[in-house]
Amino acid sequence: MATIDSKIPEGPVAEKWTNYKAHQRLVNPKNKLKLDVIVVGTGLAGASAAASLGEMGFNVLNFCIQDSPRRAHSIAAQGGINAAKNYQNDGDSVYRLFYDTVKGGDYRAREANVYRLAEVSANIIDQCVAQGVPFAREYGGLLANRSFGGVQVSRTFYAKGQTGQQLLLGAYSALSRQVHEGKVKLFTRYEMQDVVMVDGRARGIIAKNLVTGKMERFSANAVVLATGGYGNTYFLSTNAMACNCSAAIAAYRKGAYFANPAFVQIHPTCIPVHGDKQSKLTLMSESLRNDGRIWVPKDIEDAKKLQAGTLQGKDIPEEKRDYYLERRYPAFGNLVPRDVASRAAKERCDKGFGVNNTGKAVFLDFSEAIQRLGKDVVAQRYGNLFDMYEEITNVNPYENPMMIYPAIHYTMGGLWVDYELQTNLKGLFAIGECNFSDHGANRLGASALMQGLADGYFVLPYTIQNYLADQSIWPAIKTDRPEFDEVEKSVNAKIDHLMGIHGKKSVDSIHKELGKVMWEYVGMGRTKEGLLTGLKKIEEIRNEFETDLFIPGSKDGLNVELDKAIRLNDFITMGKLIAYDALNREESCGGHFREEHQTEEGEAKRDDENFFYVACWEYQGDDKKEPVLSKEPLVYEAIKVQTRNYKN
């Protein structure tokens, strides 16, 4: 097993980042002009990093798969962004945000990284307001806040139900300015295919021009991946259609550790699955849990009637409703963290209390809020979400309670990075959802936006300099080197192989099969037996993919099916990685629930003695071989590790 150096700076947790900045190496302004950085991805992390690096003087090459940087899936985040501003005077502080995040992550995050995240959170709000992000305000003209799951203060800043959109547009503005200044070069409709390593360092990428179908080569002094998470491994998720894990898997195949892949977040408030033609699931913002109450009927007979469609939720009287979150978790009620809320919903539905025709839905009810606040206030707060719900389901949520069910939403696991956000491959950095470091086994609501922007605006632009200050990597390299030849050749060979299978099955049909296996065996409740079955079935799906895939058209020019096939190839590898990690982690923590490991009350039972570590998986040269596990032990200095308690 390799030793893993997370490069955590000396000193007490509150001083580590200050110490780091005081002693890190910097690149002087003249030299910055000579250095190139590739940033793959234009979401919150990618756009903010590209813009900030450009402002500092570096030459940035920025890539995205959509037609514009503004389309990245950060745009869809609804609820808000956390920051330890304490504008509400409700006892918030950097320490409390740090503590809530570590606790919310079920004590599997890296302490030093999380503290830094909490520390820079306040700067993010300042930055965004200065960019013109129209956060919600009070009548006095100051910023408004709301509360999110897993915390007891109001520290979430928001812009209607479109916070992700506004933050991304802010970052996109900053990025656009750097494009105008000539410091960032944008490549839209390009997809990274592989990293190019030269003398043991990441020095470039091969990217596919999705319009021409041609491979193109790009070299730089460092490569930053900001390519998001791997939720689409499950086919149905709240991720956008093009979200994929191919860049991360490419890095993994080159030897980068993949950390904690089993930590997948299942969001409790999504619109339930219907039929088998669905392409994705729609999230209803967690902010709804501020005023909505979650319930199922107390009587199984009522549940049966709801499932048969002979009874409506609004007709069930108050005393026959089971507000199970308020019942089980009096202190946090409907605002328990996402993993807890999701499991509680599954528990009720598994027992037969589901409220729709599939039996896989619970109610999210606003009748009490409408009574208390009036319909207008509820409409003002959540109107756009209610409209969206009605368009999709044809049910008016002002009159009938919403139906929700958990769905795959976010992935806490990702490429392993050290304190500097560098992977174990020199010169290869990973930021935002693409890395693993800050959310442990469960992410709190409104923290993804915080982490993406923290990494991109305030962390990476510093830490990458410590790497770029190394003069041995300063000479620019040409892309006609044999290292580039070799990688491009292997990428083309893979594509020729896929095009040459000439089977019968479409990419989506195989991806759907993968999704079903993932959801059933590697989903919300996992068992050893199920995971072993899942691994076997994923391998069968790989065989099917390898022998029966059909891609129409040719590899020249735009070919959407080919691009999806390349991604699916990596999702299959990712699926196994999630299952291996879930199998190894013989405990329940956060989003990872092993049914063998639960308390008598059905809560997650951690095993700190044996699993207080980051699981780092290393590729063994072949997708069919089992990856090898290394462990980064977690060291907690500031926080006492406890059992999570949201009951009192």
Partner: protein
């Protein structure tokens, strides 16, 4: 419960920007009413792939109405029949059994077709790059509550900022004007004290870029705002005109 419907789908096919396009016609059978419009196209594409044919190309991504990627012109309306919704938010229950549904790409000189119903909206990025920002370096911002902003202005800025950059306004406009898009960004930033400093320069730069890129002139017909999936108000265009004239008068 939603019913299943069957209908004729006429959809635009075009191999490249310089190629001649045509409509392909497909009979769609028993599509559930709770299928989204894009899921209906997924079904079509699955059928085409099964027959060994190339699927219809169209842009889409988030499928929840916020990324601005989807961009289909359905039965004469950009984003189809619903108001305040993007293509991906249209559900098949809005159509009737036996209907003929015609699907085209955005049509505008500034948005050339890439393939089938996918167009190049890179011009919007270029307009943004010309001035759609507040020049603030990372790390140089004052405390967020330093400058109180009247809630009314913040809310108006938010309404303008909800533009998703889909290009629907251009597709809806008989002149192919991008005024609603440009005015939304100019308004958002002009309404905020942080954005006032560069307001004049911004309005001029963005309008000049818009003209340069081949978008048409605005003749106040209002089709843009009527079709906008985010209901961005036409009053933003009035505000842009004010900002632009003020800026020009200063010159």
């Amino acid at each position: 419960m939603d019913k299943n419907i069957s209908f004729t789908l006429r959809i635009w096919r075009q191999n490249g920007p310089k190629e001649k396009g045509h409509f392909d016609e497909f009979q769609m059978k028993d599509i559930p009413g709770d299928t989204s419009f894009l899921e209906m196209l997924d079904i079509l594409n699955e059928q085409l792939v099964e027959q060994g044919k190339e699927p219809v190309v169209f842009d889409h991504d988030c499928r929840e109405g916020i990324c601005g990627m989807c961009s289909l012109y359905i039965n004469g309306h950009p984003h189809g029949p619903a108001t305040g919704a993007t293509t991906c938010q249209i559900y098949m229950r809005r159509f009737k059994d036996g209907d003929t549904i015609t699907v085209e790409p955005w049509r505008s000189a500034a948005f050339p077709v890439i393939k089938d119903c996918m167009v190049d909206r890179g011009a919007f990025d270029k307009i943004m790059q010309a001035g759609g920002y507040i020049s603030v370096r990372t790390g140089s911002a004052p405390d967020a509550n330093n400058i109180p902003i009247p809630k009314q202005n913040a809310d108006l800025a938010m309404d303008a900022a909800s533009c998703i950059g889909c290009g629907c306004c251009v597709a809806a406009c008989k002149n192919g004007s991008a005024m609603l898009f440009v005015s939304a960004k100019v308004s958002q930033l002009a309404l905020l004290p942080q954005g006032r400093v560069e307001a004049a320069r911004r309005a001029k730069a963005m309008v000049a870029k818009m003209d340069e890129l081949g978008f048409g002139a605005c003749t106040n017909t209002g089709a843009c705002a009527a079709e906008c999936p985010k209901s961005v108000s036409i009053s933003n265009i009035a505000r842009l005109n004010r900002e632009f004239i003020k800026a020009k008068l200063k010159d």
